[in-house]
Symmetry: C4
């Protein structure tokens, strides 16, 4: 292939990002949609639901949306550093997407069965699977600077890996806490996105880039 189109060597990363954004866009709207289904399929003379009927569903939607947001931002930062893709990277990313696509199921189970231990464990395992796939993607891309710029700093790579690894640790603690108290475990899941919304060490690299 001639390089006249200015493309980076190897398969481009843009379509991988585009498929990922499409899947996240659909998954992130699904729980919002599923809140609507009871009103679309219910008989026409159904009484007006009270706030107490609707609020739990809305809160679970919000939690789920924010956790998906954390994973999307993580994917965004990882692919910010990736320069090209190969078949292995695409399939690591597909594994990531496959586990993301299971989140509506584990979230729905969590929301309907009053914090039964099995549902908290299933939710935690799903989060760990997503996080492990994201870690594998970043590890594969950066090992020997395989698919990133050769001059990408070792400190950025180390900082990124540590930040992604934080996720499975938090999820494991939440799973262990189900043996103590389900509300403690849920508290960890609610607390989890807050850790990642706050800027971390890796954001300093973006700020540094802005200074000319």
């Amino acid at each position: 292939m001639s390089s006249r189109a200015g493309s980076v060597a190897g398969l481009g990363k843009q379509r991988v990002e585009s498929l990922t954004d499409g899947i996240f866009g659909t998954v992130m709207t699904i729980l919002g949609v599923s809140l609507v289904i009871p009103y679309v399929t219910a008989p026409a003379d159904q009484p007006l639901p009270s706030l107490g009927d609707i609020l739990p569903g809305v809160l679970i939607y919000a939690l789920s949306f924010v956790i998906m947001g954390v994973f999307w931002v993580g994917h965004h930062v990882v692919f910010h550093y990736i320069r090209r893709t190969d078949r292995t990277l695409i399939w690591l990313n597909n594994a990531f997407l496959l586990f993301v696509g299971l989140l509506p199921l584990t979230t729905a189970l969590l929301g309907r069965h009053d914090l039964a231990q099995a549902t908290l464990v299933a939710y935690g395992l799903n989060l760990i699977a997503v996080q492990a796939a994201l870690y594998a993607t970043f590890w594969y891309a950066t090992v020997h600077h395989h698919l990133v710029d050769l001059d990408l700093g070792a400190d950025i790579i180390r900082s990124g890996r540590r930040r992604i690894l934080l996720g499975p640790c938090v999820s494991s603690i939440a799973i262990l806490l189900t043996f103590v108290d389900p509300y403690l475990s849920l508290g960890i899941f609610v607390f989890f996105p807050i850790v990642f919304i706050l800027p971390g060490e890796i954001d300093a690299f973006f700020r540094r880039q802005e200074q000319p």
Copy 2:
């Protein structure tokens, strides 16, 4: 990261726009889809519905689609001026998307319960939440020219902020009018997109750019 890929410093804005377009595309088609569900799940010998059965759903779909269109155009104009993103901006945008994802629910409630006051108030509060998140996004990006071009005119920023703030004002009036008459309140919600479809002060800047 070397700058040889020609990327603007900091995280790019393209994927944030891509996720937003994906979520808007899904949400804007959902009410159209929900109109179909009764015909897919109904028994095969269901009689042909009359125009009167179908029209209210179609009109609510159209209103909802147009209001989403207003928010999408607002987002489009805001991100037209944004040059780069950081974690805070992405999460302000995620809050915007979260509230957008609730609109199918509040629209469905509005459509099914004959303009009960509670549903009009819920719809209005949802609109205010979306508008407040969009305002916060624009304010954060433009304060001290944080994430926009340094030479972006103060008049464009002021004009943009004023236009976005118009939204919550109109929605608040609609909420207050629910105490007077529900049809007046609905009238304001129908009137609201018309204000924003008409070109405003900010469009003059785009026209000015076209002259060489």
Copy 3:
């Protein structure tokens, strides 16, 4: 705004295309999905459906998919010539998308009520609304070369307008034929995409561009 990002003056067209592709992607998969719903919600001991049970749904899906494909290709060609957008063009495009979003409803009605005249008329009117909005978009963009290149040939513009206008003519004939025979009318709807899949006068311009 400085022009250093290399953007074309005025609002870019990329996000309008991106929203359109997202909506078409969702709408085009919806009828395929709606074929699945009966199998997901049916009781587990449901007998295996016969080919005769499934085939009509599959054929309606295929017809609907191909007609959406025609509109998508039309939109693709129209925006190929558009260089920048303004608020009016975006809202003409939103009207186009709004009517596209109604196609699943009119298709479902067509599929379930054995070619009742009302459903054929509703389907035809929906097609005309989509086609009229696409024509208005192209007309607005090209009048006085408003949003296209100043050197865009008058023959391309004339050829494009004539091709889009062909659509409402065919749909009107199909509506009139419902008064004669519903199968004739359906035949026109099936025949309609074939006309547009075949290359027309406008394709010659693309071929001509390829010769250096």
Copy 4:
């Protein structure tokens, strides 16, 4: 059209990729979503499902997701080499998307009817249709170097065609095996994606490009 926007002659390929990614994103999330529907529409006092209730659905989702992933990667590689599009290529791609949009239906049939021969045959025929459309797309684009770079090597074209043709062969074997044993046939369908996830001859070309 002037060439000042730097566009490749003929219609660009970006929007074709964008529509494809949107449809794949929606289709790939649909089976994950359909797993959720029973929990959203079921009565509130439904008992917690056992792992045995949920696992078959999750496995079928995973198989389906991975097979869609194979097709998406195939499409990604094919369009990597395509430089421009014309009406025929777009409609070959639309045929590909139409058959992709039927996969949720054939997968749901496969999952619900305990490997009845008819469902295995329907699934296999659907895969063959998708693969044949992808082959036709690649063949049309590369014949006489119609829509690819003139200097694209004949070895890459031959290698790509052979790899795509492998698909219908495997699917045909799976269909024939339904006459022997349904589990053997299912085994081939599970085995099929593994062949394509492993890097093949064509990946060597991407690796070669990376060496300066």
